[in-house]
Symmetry: C3
Subunit: 136 residues, 3 copies
């Protein structure tokens, strides 16, 4: 079986935004009980990661990405209309999607694992897809 | 259903090389209409990423990888015959493969999403595998 | 078909630890002959990568992660009881899991590809899950 679900996130700032609840909702709505779930961003300036949802850590993650790919650096890409070179580079680090296990109708995740959208080019309305493949 | 496809890329230089067209061709040839596609490099010095195919950005991505893992730095690995430590480290960042959704017989991807081979140890002939799993 | 396997790794130090043999054992035990395998860490301070198992390179990979996210840096997250901010940041780079192809009952991997647990918060007992989806 294969299913596609989708939700939207309105991002008001660049950073690491928790989307776990919305992903879990889609998995819980699914008829697929055992299989793989692909949380996928169709954007090249917004990626998906799995990490802990702790306030200080979210700040650390944002500083980390800013340090590795600073927003105000001169990028060749920024000669064009879009000033978002930093966001594209951060997507190399995060990836566009994460594959996660689903078992007995639920997302399998460790105690501290949350799913985050890493927004690099806000404000935007982001489409997040949740694909499931597996068995009833 | 499960399918394996494969194609080769001759790389003449290190960098970020667009392979989208070849991946799409394999997906279009496939009998699998809905499912997951794994674009996979069987190499530890060449990874796979998803990003925008814009000339300036490609240069930015190459500079970014060179800055994080410089080619001429002294690596322990380079004591041996292979002088490609930088390429192995870049593979940590990019990953060896990317899982992408397939729906109604086509790759699902955003307007700007392209698939790139990140070559770190050219010139080489690289084998890129495209695995599909799903339903007709 | 869907299967879940699991094994444990006792980590005595932070670093890049080869788990290929244990993953291969689970794949070989599986009834699934063709499909996808997800090697997944349910931990936010230990990730999974694919790379070459060469002694010097393992040291290079460890130095690389230490340089990008140093263990003794001041992290907001470290105000709390856990002094593992560096390990969380390394997980952004490595990812929590890797999806790999399985064909004819075996892991498909290049000559040099091994699977590693990247431990950032040892000593711990880590649960590594191996999920398989595919056909007999």
């Amino acid at each position: 079986m294969f299913e596609r679900h989708e939700f939207q996130v309105r991002t008001e700032r660049n950073g690491v935004l928790n989307i776990t609840e919305k992903v879990v909702e889609k998995i819980n709505d699914s008829e697929i009980k055992n299989g793989f779930c692909l949380v996928f961003s169709r954007h090249t300036t917004a990626g998906i990661i799995v990490n802990e949802n702790e306030k200080g850590l979210v700040e650390d993650m944002e500083s980390f990405l800013e340090k590795l790919a600073p927003e105000d650096k001169k990028y060749m890409h920024n000669r064009g209309p879009d000033k978002n070179g930093h966001a594209h580079l951060r997507n190399i680090l995060t990836g566009s999607g994460q594959t996660l296990p689903v078992e007995k109708g639920s997302l399998v995740s460790g105690t501290w694992q949350n799913i985050f959208l890493v927004e690099g080019d806000s404000p935007r309305t982001r489409n997040i897809d949740v694909y499931l493949i597996g068995e009833k």
